[in-house]
Protein backbone atom coordinates (compact mmCIF):
# COMPACT_ATOMS: atom_id res chain seq x y z
CA UNK A 1 0.00 0.00 0.00
CA UNK A 2 1.46 3.40 -0.85
CA UNK A 3 2.19 5.58 2.12
CA UNK A 4 -0.33 8.16 1.08
CA UNK A 5 -3.59 9.28 2.53
CA UNK A 6 -6.82 10.54 1.15
CA UNK A 7 -7.69 13.64 3.08
CA UNK A 8 -11.43 13.79 3.55
CA UNK A 9 -13.43 16.55 2.07
CA UNK A 10 -16.92 17.52 3.06
CA UNK A 11 -19.43 16.61 0.38
CA UNK A 12 -23.11 17.27 0.87
CA UNK A 13 -23.93 15.97 4.32
CA UNK A 14 -27.62 15.93 4.99
CA UNK A 15 -28.57 15.30 8.56
CA UNK A 16 -27.05 18.05 10.57
CA UNK A 17 -24.32 20.47 11.40
CA UNK A 18 -20.87 19.27 12.38
CA UNK A 19 -21.39 19.94 16.07
CA UNK A 20 -19.36 17.60 18.25
CA UNK A 21 -21.47 15.65 20.71
CA UNK A 22 -24.68 16.08 18.72
CA UNK A 23 -26.21 13.81 16.14
CA UNK A 24 -24.63 15.82 13.33
CA UNK A 25 -21.84 14.72 11.07
CA UNK A 26 -18.97 14.32 10.97
CA UNK A 27 -18.76 12.42 14.22
CA UNK A 28 -15.61 10.41 13.70
CA UNK A 29 -13.58 12.73 11.54
CA UNK A 30 -12.49 16.21 12.57
CA UNK A 31 -14.64 19.00 11.09
CA UNK A 32 -13.57 19.95 7.58
CA UNK A 33 -10.35 21.90 7.61
CA UNK A 34 -9.40 20.94 11.18
CA UNK A 35 -6.01 19.46 11.88
CA UNK A 36 -5.57 15.80 12.84
CA UNK A 37 -6.40 15.37 16.51
CA UNK A 38 -3.64 14.91 19.07
CA UNK A 39 -4.70 13.84 22.56
CA UNK A 40 -5.40 17.39 23.73
CA UNK A 41 -7.58 18.22 20.71
CA UNK A 42 -9.30 14.86 21.05
CA UNK A 43 -10.18 15.45 24.71
CA UNK A 44 -11.31 19.00 23.97
CA UNK A 45 -13.72 17.78 21.31
CA UNK A 46 -15.00 14.50 22.76
CA UNK A 47 -14.25 14.67 26.48
CA UNK A 48 -12.60 11.93 28.51
CA UNK A 49 -12.96 8.26 27.66
CA UNK A 50 -15.87 6.84 29.64
CA UNK A 51 -15.29 3.25 30.68
CA UNK A 52 -18.42 1.13 31.13
CA UNK A 53 -17.29 -0.11 34.55
CA UNK A 54 -16.61 -3.78 33.94
CA UNK A 55 -16.62 -6.76 31.69
CA UNK A 56 -19.76 -7.09 29.57
CA UNK A 57 -21.21 -3.77 30.80
CA UNK A 58 -21.17 -2.02 27.42
CA UNK A 59 -23.00 -4.78 25.53
CA UNK A 60 -26.54 -3.59 26.30
CA UNK A 61 -25.94 -0.02 25.12
CA UNK A 62 -24.26 -1.27 21.93
CA UNK A 63 -27.18 -3.61 21.26
CA UNK A 64 -29.59 -0.70 21.74
CA UNK A 65 -27.50 1.40 19.36
CA UNK A 66 -27.66 -1.33 16.72
CA UNK A 67 -24.01 -0.83 15.79
CA UNK A 68 -22.77 -3.22 13.11
CA UNK A 69 -19.18 -3.96 12.08
CA UNK A 70 -17.83 -1.43 9.60
CA UNK A 71 -15.18 -3.73 8.15
CA UNK A 72 -17.58 -5.04 5.52
CA UNK A 73 -19.64 -7.86 7.00
CA UNK A 74 -21.99 -5.62 9.05
CA UNK A 75 -22.10 -8.21 11.85
CA UNK A 76 -23.91 -6.98 15.01
CA UNK A 77 -21.18 -5.73 17.34
CA UNK A 78 -23.17 -6.50 20.51
CA UNK A 79 -23.26 -10.20 19.63
CA UNK A 80 -19.49 -10.32 19.26
CA UNK A 81 -19.04 -8.40 22.51
CA UNK A 82 -21.36 -10.82 24.31
CA UNK A 83 -19.43 -13.82 22.96
CA UNK A 84 -16.17 -12.18 24.05
CA UNK A 85 -17.50 -11.40 27.53
CA UNK A 86 -18.36 -15.06 27.97
CA UNK A 87 -15.10 -16.49 26.62
CA UNK A 88 -12.62 -18.06 29.07
CA UNK A 89 -9.78 -17.27 29.21
CA UNK A 90 -10.51 -13.70 28.21
CA UNK A 91 -9.85 -12.91 24.55
CA UNK A 92 -7.31 -10.41 23.29
CA UNK A 93 -8.92 -7.22 21.91
CA UNK A 94 -7.84 -6.45 18.37
CA UNK A 95 -8.44 -3.34 16.27
CA UNK A 96 -8.39 -4.33 12.62
CA UNK A 97 -6.89 -1.61 10.45
CA UNK A 98 -5.46 -3.88 7.75
CA UNK A 99 -7.64 -2.31 5.04
CA UNK A 100 -6.28 -4.58 2.31
CA UNK A 101 -8.84 -3.37 -0.21
CA UNK A 102 -6.91 -1.11 -2.65
CA UNK A 103 -10.00 1.01 -3.32
CA UNK A 104 -10.55 1.79 0.38
CA UNK A 105 -8.74 4.46 2.34
CA UNK A 106 -11.31 5.26 5.01
CA UNK A 107 -9.57 3.33 7.79
CA UNK A 108 -6.22 4.98 7.08
CA UNK A 109 -7.91 8.39 7.01
CA UNK A 110 -9.66 7.74 10.32
CA UNK A 111 -6.49 6.45 11.97
CA UNK A 112 -4.55 9.45 10.70
CA UNK A 113 -7.09 12.09 11.63
CA UNK A 114 -8.72 10.63 14.77
CA UNK A 115 -6.30 8.06 16.19
CA UNK A 116 -7.48 8.57 19.77
CA UNK A 117 -11.09 7.78 18.97
CA UNK A 118 -9.98 4.38 17.64
CA UNK A 119 -7.70 3.83 20.64
CA UNK A 120 -10.55 4.79 23.01
CA UNK A 121 -12.73 2.19 21.32
CA UNK A 122 -10.00 -0.42 21.57
CA UNK A 123 -9.81 0.16 25.34
CA UNK A 124 -13.59 -0.21 25.58
CA UNK A 125 -13.51 -3.44 23.56
CA UNK A 126 -10.77 -4.72 25.86
CA UNK A 127 -12.86 -3.80 28.90
CA UNK A 128 -15.98 -5.43 27.43
CA UNK A 129 -14.05 -8.64 26.83
CA UNK A 130 -12.04 -8.52 30.06
CA UNK A 131 -9.01 -8.60 27.75
CA UNK A 132 -5.57 -8.57 29.37
CA UNK A 133 -4.06 -6.81 26.37
CA UNK A 134 -4.89 -5.22 23.04
CA UNK A 135 -3.43 -5.17 19.54
CA UNK A 136 -3.78 -2.62 16.77
CA UNK A 137 -3.28 -4.41 13.45
CA UNK A 138 -2.27 -1.79 10.89
CA UNK A 139 -1.90 -1.65 7.14
CA UNK A 140 1.64 -0.89 5.97
CA UNK A 141 2.77 2.72 5.96
CA UNK A 142 5.62 4.19 7.99
CA UNK A 143 3.98 7.55 8.63
CA UNK A 144 0.76 5.93 9.82
CA UNK A 145 2.65 3.57 12.15
CA UNK A 146 4.73 6.41 13.57
CA UNK A 147 1.57 8.44 14.22
CA UNK A 148 -0.18 5.59 16.01
CA UNK A 149 2.93 4.76 18.04
CA UNK A 150 3.07 8.42 19.08
CA UNK A 151 -0.64 8.42 20.00
CA UNK A 152 -0.21 5.28 22.11
CA UNK A 153 2.78 6.89 23.86
CA UNK A 154 0.76 10.09 24.52
CA UNK A 155 -1.93 8.00 26.20
CA UNK A 156 0.56 6.01 28.26
CA UNK A 157 2.07 9.29 29.51
CA UNK A 158 -1.41 10.53 30.43
CA UNK A 159 -2.27 7.22 32.10
CA UNK A 160 -5.65 6.84 30.41
CA UNK A 161 -5.32 3.32 29.04
CA UNK A 162 -6.34 0.31 31.11
CA UNK A 163 -4.45 -2.22 28.97
CA UNK A 164 -1.32 -1.96 26.83
CA UNK A 165 -1.64 -1.75 23.08
CA UNK A 166 0.80 -3.48 20.72
CA UNK A 167 1.14 -2.33 17.12
CA UNK A 168 1.34 -5.15 14.57
CA UNK A 169 1.97 -4.53 10.89
CA UNK A 170 -0.35 -6.26 8.44
CA UNK A 171 1.13 -7.52 5.18
CA UNK A 172 0.17 -5.62 2.04
CA UNK A 173 -2.34 -8.21 0.84
CA UNK A 174 -6.01 -8.02 -0.05
CA UNK A 175 -6.86 -10.72 2.50
CA UNK A 176 -4.59 -9.49 5.32
CA UNK A 177 -7.57 -8.30 7.36
CA UNK A 178 -9.66 -11.44 6.91
CA UNK A 179 -10.30 -12.49 10.49
CA UNK A 180 -8.63 -15.91 10.39
CA UNK A 181 -5.66 -14.47 8.46
CA UNK A 182 -5.32 -11.76 11.10
CA UNK A 183 -5.47 -14.37 13.87
CA UNK A 184 -2.77 -16.38 12.11
CA UNK A 185 -0.54 -13.29 11.83
CA UNK A 186 -0.99 -12.44 15.52
CA UNK A 187 -0.07 -16.03 16.38
CA UNK A 188 3.26 -15.45 14.63
CA UNK A 189 2.43 -17.28 11.42
CA UNK A 190 1.86 -15.88 7.90
CA UNK A 191 -1.41 -13.96 7.51
CA UNK A 192 -3.15 -16.72 5.57
CA UNK A 193 -6.86 -17.45 5.91
CA UNK A 194 -7.67 -20.64 7.80
CA UNK A 195 -10.45 -23.19 7.54
CA UNK A 196 -12.80 -22.64 10.47
CA UNK A 197 -15.71 -25.06 10.45
CA UNK A 198 -16.92 -23.87 13.85
CA UNK A 199 -18.34 -20.39 14.34
CA UNK A 200 -17.26 -18.11 17.13
CA UNK A 201 -14.29 -15.93 17.93
CA UNK A 202 -11.09 -16.67 16.00
CA UNK A 203 -8.25 -18.29 17.95
CA UNK A 204 -4.71 -17.01 18.31
CA UNK A 205 -3.67 -20.10 20.27
CA UNK A 206 -5.56 -23.16 21.49
CA UNK A 207 -6.50 -21.35 24.70
CA UNK A 208 -6.67 -17.76 23.48
CA UNK A 209 -9.34 -16.25 21.28
CA UNK A 210 -9.54 -12.75 19.85
CA UNK A 211 -12.24 -10.10 19.77
CA UNK A 212 -11.61 -8.46 16.40
CA UNK A 213 -13.31 -5.21 15.42
CA UNK A 214 -12.65 -2.93 12.50
CA UNK A 215 -11.02 0.35 13.57
CA UNK A 216 -14.03 2.42 12.44
CA UNK A 217 -16.30 0.18 14.49
CA UNK A 218 -14.11 0.94 17.52
CA UNK A 219 -14.40 4.68 16.92
CA UNK A 220 -18.21 4.39 16.91
CA UNK A 221 -17.95 2.36 20.12
CA UNK A 222 -16.00 5.21 21.74
CA UNK A 223 -18.80 7.66 20.93
CA UNK A 224 -21.66 5.33 21.90
CA UNK A 225 -19.99 4.95 25.32
CA UNK A 226 -19.95 8.75 25.66
CA UNK A 227 -23.31 9.73 24.18
CA UNK A 228 -25.48 6.61 24.25
CA UNK A 229 -27.60 4.60 21.85
CA UNK A 230 -30.22 7.29 21.28
CA UNK A 231 -27.59 9.75 20.11
CA UNK A 232 -26.07 7.14 17.80
CA UNK A 233 -29.46 6.52 16.20
CA UNK A 234 -29.92 10.19 15.29
CA UNK A 235 -28.10 9.35 12.07
CA UNK A 236 -28.90 6.50 9.70
CA UNK A 237 -32.08 4.46 9.36
CA UNK A 238 -33.99 2.54 12.03
CA UNK A 239 -32.75 -0.78 10.61
CA UNK A 240 -29.21 0.45 9.89
CA UNK A 241 -28.44 3.21 12.36
CA UNK A 242 -25.46 5.52 12.58
CA UNK A 243 -22.97 7.05 10.26
CA UNK A 244 -20.27 5.31 8.28
CA UNK A 245 -17.10 6.25 6.49
CA UNK A 246 -17.07 5.80 2.74
CA UNK A 247 -14.34 5.97 0.13
CA UNK A 248 -15.76 7.55 -3.01
CA UNK A 249 -14.24 7.25 -6.46
CA UNK A 250 -15.86 10.01 -8.47
CA UNK A 251 -16.12 9.88 -12.27
CA UNK A 252 -13.74 12.84 -12.65
CA UNK A 253 -11.01 10.67 -11.13
CA UNK A 254 -11.07 12.21 -7.66
CA UNK A 255 -11.07 9.99 -4.57
CA UNK A 256 -12.47 11.22 -1.29
CA UNK A 257 -13.31 9.88 2.15
CA UNK A 258 -16.53 11.12 3.73
CA UNK A 259 -18.67 10.34 6.75
CA UNK A 260 -22.31 9.88 5.77
CA UNK A 261 -25.49 8.59 7.40
CA UNK A 262 -26.35 5.01 6.48
CA UNK A 263 -29.27 5.03 4.09
CA UNK A 264 -28.08 8.11 2.20
CA UNK A 265 -29.19 8.03 -1.43
CA UNK A 266 -26.37 6.95 -3.75
CA UNK A 267 -27.46 9.83 -5.98
CA UNK A 268 -26.76 12.30 -3.12
CA UNK A 269 -23.57 10.51 -2.15
CA UNK A 270 -22.12 10.76 -5.66
CA UNK A 271 -23.94 13.86 -6.88
CA UNK A 272 -25.79 11.91 -9.57
CA UNK A 273 -28.50 13.58 -11.64
CA UNK A 274 -30.77 12.27 -14.36
CA UNK A 275 -29.98 13.14 -17.97
CA UNK A 276 -26.90 13.88 -20.02
CA UNK A 277 -25.64 17.42 -19.67
CA UNK A 278 -26.14 19.64 -22.69
CA UNK A 279 -28.62 17.29 -24.37
CA UNK A 280 -32.05 15.87 -23.82
CA UNK A 281 -30.72 12.33 -23.81
CA UNK A 282 -31.54 9.96 -20.96
CA UNK A 283 -28.85 8.69 -18.67
CA UNK A 284 -27.16 9.61 -15.42
CA UNK A 285 -24.46 12.20 -14.87
CA UNK A 286 -22.22 13.49 -12.14
CA UNK A 287 -21.73 17.16 -12.88
CA UNK A 288 -20.59 17.33 -16.51
CA UNK A 289 -19.52 13.67 -16.60
CA UNK A 290 -21.94 10.93 -17.76
CA UNK A 291 -21.85 7.87 -15.49
CA UNK A 292 -22.46 4.35 -16.81
CA UNK A 293 -22.25 2.15 -13.72
CA UNK A 294 -21.64 2.28 -9.98
CA UNK A 295 -19.55 -0.24 -8.06
CA UNK A 296 -20.88 -0.66 -4.52
CA UNK A 297 -18.91 -2.53 -1.86
CA UNK A 298 -15.46 -2.62 -3.43
CA UNK A 299 -13.75 -5.51 -5.20
CA UNK A 300 -15.91 -8.11 -3.49
CA UNK A 301 -18.87 -5.91 -4.30
CA UNK A 302 -21.37 -5.39 -7.07
CA UNK A 303 -21.62 -3.35 -10.27
CA UNK A 304 -24.99 -1.70 -10.73
CA UNK A 305 -26.09 0.15 -13.89
CA UNK A 306 -26.03 3.88 -13.13
CA UNK A 307 -29.78 4.36 -13.64
CA UNK A 308 -30.49 1.62 -11.10
CA UNK A 309 -27.89 2.86 -8.61
CA UNK A 310 -29.29 6.40 -8.80
CA UNK A 311 -32.56 5.13 -7.27
CA UNK A 312 -30.96 3.18 -4.40
CA UNK A 313 -29.84 4.11 -0.89
CA UNK A 314 -26.59 3.06 0.75
CA UNK A 315 -28.42 0.49 2.88
CA UNK A 316 -28.23 -3.28 2.99
CA UNK A 317 -32.01 -3.53 3.31
CA UNK A 318 -32.33 -2.34 -0.30
CA UNK A 319 -29.00 -3.57 -1.69
CA UNK A 320 -29.02 -7.18 -0.44
CA UNK A 321 -32.11 -8.24 -2.46
CA UNK A 322 -30.08 -7.19 -5.52
CA UNK A 323 -27.08 -9.26 -4.46
CA UNK A 324 -25.21 -6.12 -3.42
CA UNK A 325 -24.08 -4.83 -0.01
CA UNK A 326 -22.70 -1.69 1.58
CA UNK A 327 -19.54 -3.62 2.53
CA UNK A 328 -16.75 -1.41 3.80
CA UNK A 329 -18.17 1.64 2.05
CA UNK A 330 -16.25 1.72 -1.22
CA UNK A 331 -18.39 3.34 -3.93
CA UNK A 332 -17.05 4.02 -7.43
CA UNK A 333 -18.88 5.79 -10.24
CA UNK A 334 -17.51 4.62 -13.59
CA UNK A 335 -17.70 7.40 -16.18
CA UNK A 336 -18.80 6.81 -19.75
CA UNK A 337 -15.89 6.28 -22.10
CA UNK A 338 -14.23 3.63 -19.93
CA UNK A 339 -14.70 -0.03 -20.77
CA UNK A 340 -16.38 -1.74 -17.81
CA UNK A 341 -15.17 -5.13 -19.03
CA UNK A 342 -11.56 -3.96 -19.14
CA UNK A 343 -11.90 -2.46 -15.65
CA UNK A 344 -13.40 -5.67 -14.27
CA UNK A 345 -10.80 -7.84 -16.01
CA UNK A 346 -7.95 -5.84 -14.47
CA UNK A 347 -9.40 -6.17 -10.99
CA UNK A 348 -10.28 -9.85 -11.50
CA UNK A 349 -6.66 -10.56 -12.40
CA UNK A 350 -5.55 -8.78 -9.23
CA UNK A 351 -8.05 -10.80 -7.17
CA UNK A 352 -6.78 -14.04 -8.72
CA UNK A 353 -3.21 -13.10 -7.78
CA UNK A 354 -4.41 -12.27 -4.27
CA UNK A 355 -5.74 -15.79 -3.75
CA UNK A 356 -3.70 -17.32 -0.94
CA UNK A 357 -3.47 -20.38 -3.20
CA UNK A 358 -4.48 -22.70 -0.38
CA UNK A 359 -7.82 -23.97 -1.68
CA UNK A 360 -7.92 -25.82 -5.00
CA UNK A 361 -11.11 -24.31 -6.42
CA UNK A 362 -9.98 -20.71 -5.70
CA UNK A 363 -6.39 -21.31 -6.85
CA UNK A 364 -7.57 -22.93 -10.10
CA UNK A 365 -10.79 -21.05 -10.71
CA UNK A 366 -9.95 -17.38 -10.17
CA UNK A 367 -7.11 -17.20 -12.74
CA UNK A 368 -9.33 -18.89 -15.34
CA UNK A 369 -12.19 -16.52 -14.56
CA UNK A 370 -9.82 -13.55 -14.85
CA UNK A 371 -8.46 -14.83 -18.18
CA UNK A 372 -11.97 -15.31 -19.58
CA UNK A 373 -12.85 -11.75 -18.58
CA UNK A 374 -9.68 -10.52 -20.24
CA UNK A 375 -10.81 -12.35 -23.36
CA UNK A 376 -14.25 -10.71 -23.21
CA UNK A 377 -12.58 -7.33 -22.78
CA UNK A 378 -10.74 -7.84 -26.07
CA UNK A 379 -11.97 -7.58 -29.64
CA UNK A 380 -14.46 -10.09 -31.09
CA UNK A 381 -14.45 -12.50 -28.13
CA UNK A 382 -15.85 -16.00 -28.36
CA UNK A 383 -19.21 -16.09 -26.56
CA UNK A 384 -18.26 -19.45 -25.04
CA UNK A 385 -16.10 -17.45 -22.63
CA UNK A 386 -19.32 -16.39 -20.88
CA UNK A 387 -20.42 -20.03 -20.51
CA UNK A 388 -17.01 -20.95 -19.12
CA UNK A 389 -17.15 -18.02 -16.73
CA UNK A 390 -20.55 -19.04 -15.40
CA UNK A 391 -19.43 -22.63 -14.91
CA UNK A 392 -16.21 -21.67 -13.11
CA UNK A 393 -18.07 -19.11 -11.01
CA UNK A 394 -20.40 -21.88 -9.86
CA UNK A 395 -17.45 -24.18 -9.14
CA UNK A 396 -15.54 -21.80 -6.87
CA UNK A 397 -18.51 -20.41 -4.92
CA UNK A 398 -18.69 -21.64 -1.35
CA UNK A 399 -15.61 -23.85 -1.73
CA UNK A 400 -12.91 -21.73 -0.12
CA UNK A 401 -11.81 -21.54 3.50
CA UNK A 402 -12.52 -17.80 3.34
CA UNK A 403 -14.92 -15.61 1.37
CA UNK A 404 -12.41 -14.62 -1.31
CA UNK A 405 -13.76 -16.86 -4.09
CA UNK A 406 -17.37 -15.94 -3.26
CA UNK A 407 -16.68 -12.21 -3.18
CA UNK A 408 -14.59 -12.28 -6.35
CA UNK A 409 -17.32 -14.17 -8.20
CA UNK A 410 -20.00 -11.77 -6.97
CA UNK A 411 -17.99 -8.90 -8.44
CA UNK A 412 -17.40 -10.66 -11.78
CA UNK A 413 -20.98 -11.89 -12.19
CA UNK A 414 -22.33 -8.41 -11.52
CA UNK A 415 -20.08 -7.12 -14.32
CA UNK A 416 -21.54 -9.65 -16.76
CA UNK A 417 -25.00 -8.24 -15.93
CA UNK A 418 -24.13 -4.53 -15.77
CA UNK A 419 -21.95 -4.64 -18.90
CA UNK A 420 -24.01 -7.12 -20.93
CA UNK A 421 -24.42 -4.54 -23.71
CA UNK A 422 -20.67 -3.97 -23.73
CA UNK A 423 -20.08 -7.69 -24.34
CA UNK A 424 -22.34 -7.39 -27.40
CA UNK A 425 -20.31 -4.41 -28.62
CA UNK A 426 -17.06 -6.32 -28.24
CA UNK A 427 -18.51 -9.27 -30.16
CA UNK A 428 -19.18 -6.84 -33.00
CA UNK A 429 -15.57 -5.72 -32.81
CA UNK A 430 -16.31 -2.45 -31.07
CA UNK A 431 -15.86 -1.00 -27.56
CA UNK A 432 -17.44 1.96 -25.80
CA UNK A 433 -14.13 2.79 -24.14
CA UNK A 434 -12.45 5.89 -25.48
CA UNK A 435 -10.17 6.51 -22.51
CA UNK A 436 -7.66 3.68 -21.96
CA UNK A 437 -6.48 4.95 -18.57
CA UNK A 438 -7.34 2.61 -15.67
CA UNK A 439 -10.09 3.94 -13.41
CA UNK A 440 -10.31 1.59 -10.44
CA UNK A 441 -7.20 1.78 -8.24
CA UNK A 442 -4.85 -1.16 -7.89
CA UNK A 443 -1.45 -1.43 -6.18
CA UNK A 444 1.36 -0.12 -8.36
CA UNK A 445 3.33 -3.34 -8.01
CA UNK A 446 1.27 -6.34 -8.98
CA UNK A 447 1.56 -8.99 -6.28
CA UNK A 448 3.51 -12.10 -7.09
CA UNK A 449 1.85 -15.32 -6.01
CA UNK A 450 4.57 -16.09 -3.47
CA UNK A 451 4.78 -12.54 -2.14
CA UNK A 452 5.28 -12.02 1.57
CA UNK A 453 2.25 -12.85 3.71
CA UNK A 454 3.83 -11.88 7.02
Amino acid sequence: MPDTLTIPSSPAQPGGSPAAGGGGLPRLLPPAGAAPADLRAHLARHGALRYAGGRGRLTGEVAAAGLTGRGGAAFPVARKLAAAAGARPAPVAVGNGAEGEPASSKDASLLWLSPHLVLDGLQLAAEAAGAPSAVLYLRPGQRLHARLAQAIAERAAAGIDAVGVALVRAPDRFLAGEESALASRLAGRPALPAYRPARGLPRLAPARSALVQNVETLAHLALIARHGAGWFRQAGTAAEPGSMLVTLHLPDGHTTVAEVPLGIALADLLGLAAGQPGSGEPGVSCGPVPVQAVLVGGYHGTWLPAAQAARLPLANAMLRPLGAAVGAGVVAALPAGRCGLAETARVARYLALESAGQCGPCFNGLPRIAAALGHLAGSRPDRRAVTDLERWAGLVTGRGACHHPDGSVRFVRSALRAFAAEIGLHEAGRCSGTDPRPFLPLPADPPSSDADWS
Binding site: Q358, P361, R399, G400
Partner: protein, 68 residues
Amino acid sequence: MRQQQLRVDPVACSGHGACAELLPELITLDEWGYPVVADRPVPSGLHREARRAVTNCPALALALARVP
Protein backbone atom coordinates in the same frame (compact mmCIF):
# COMPACT_ATOMS: atom_id res chain seq x y z
CA MET B 1 -28.75 -41.32 15.48
CA ARG B 2 -28.03 -37.73 14.45
CA GLN B 3 -27.73 -37.06 10.75
CA GLN B 4 -24.25 -36.56 9.40
CA GLN B 5 -22.83 -34.67 6.47
CA LEU B 6 -19.46 -34.82 4.73
CA ARG B 7 -17.26 -31.72 4.98
CA VAL B 8 -14.05 -30.94 3.09
CA ASP B 9 -11.31 -28.84 4.65
CA PRO B 10 -10.41 -26.95 1.44
CA VAL B 11 -7.00 -25.88 2.77
CA ALA B 12 -5.95 -29.41 3.67
CA CYS B 13 -7.42 -30.98 0.52
CA SER B 14 -4.84 -31.44 -2.21
CA GLY B 15 -7.06 -33.15 -4.73
CA HIS B 16 -5.91 -36.77 -4.45
CA GLY B 17 -9.41 -37.83 -5.47
CA ALA B 18 -9.57 -40.95 -3.28
CA CYS B 19 -12.87 -39.84 -1.75
CA ALA B 20 -14.64 -39.69 -5.11
CA GLU B 21 -13.49 -43.23 -5.91
CA LEU B 22 -14.69 -44.58 -2.58
CA LEU B 23 -17.98 -42.68 -2.46
CA PRO B 24 -19.08 -41.71 -5.98
CA GLU B 25 -22.70 -41.57 -4.74
CA LEU B 26 -21.94 -38.38 -2.77
CA ILE B 27 -18.63 -37.03 -4.09
CA THR B 28 -17.63 -36.07 -7.61
CA LEU B 29 -14.46 -34.30 -8.77
CA ASP B 30 -14.49 -30.89 -10.43
CA GLU B 31 -12.51 -30.24 -13.60
CA TRP B 32 -9.39 -29.56 -11.53
CA GLY B 33 -9.63 -32.76 -9.48
CA TYR B 34 -11.09 -31.30 -6.27
CA PRO B 35 -14.08 -32.92 -4.58
CA VAL B 36 -17.60 -31.55 -4.89
CA VAL B 37 -19.63 -32.98 -2.01
CA ALA B 38 -23.39 -33.45 -2.29
CA ASP B 39 -25.19 -30.89 -0.17
CA ARG B 40 -27.31 -33.40 1.75
CA PRO B 41 -26.90 -35.69 4.75
CA VAL B 42 -25.25 -39.07 4.32
CA PRO B 43 -28.12 -41.53 3.68
CA SER B 44 -28.36 -44.41 6.14
CA GLY B 45 -27.16 -46.99 3.61
CA LEU B 46 -23.88 -45.17 2.96
CA HIS B 47 -22.50 -44.56 6.46
CA ARG B 48 -19.89 -47.33 6.23
CA GLU B 49 -18.67 -46.05 2.84
CA ALA B 50 -18.61 -42.46 4.11
CA ARG B 51 -16.48 -43.43 7.11
CA ARG B 52 -14.14 -45.33 4.80
CA ALA B 53 -13.76 -42.27 2.56
CA VAL B 54 -12.96 -40.15 5.62
CA THR B 55 -10.31 -42.51 7.00
CA ASN B 56 -8.75 -43.03 3.58
CA CYS B 57 -8.28 -39.36 2.67
CA PRO B 58 -4.48 -39.03 2.31
CA ALA B 59 -4.65 -35.37 3.35
CA LEU B 60 -7.02 -35.96 6.30
CA ALA B 61 -9.23 -33.29 4.71
CA LEU B 62 -12.55 -35.10 4.80
CA ALA B 63 -14.72 -35.22 7.89
CA LEU B 64 -18.17 -36.30 8.95
CA ALA B 65 -19.94 -33.53 10.81
CA ARG B 66 -23.27 -33.52 12.56
CA VAL B 67 -25.97 -31.72 10.64
CA PRO B 68 -26.89 -28.73 12.78
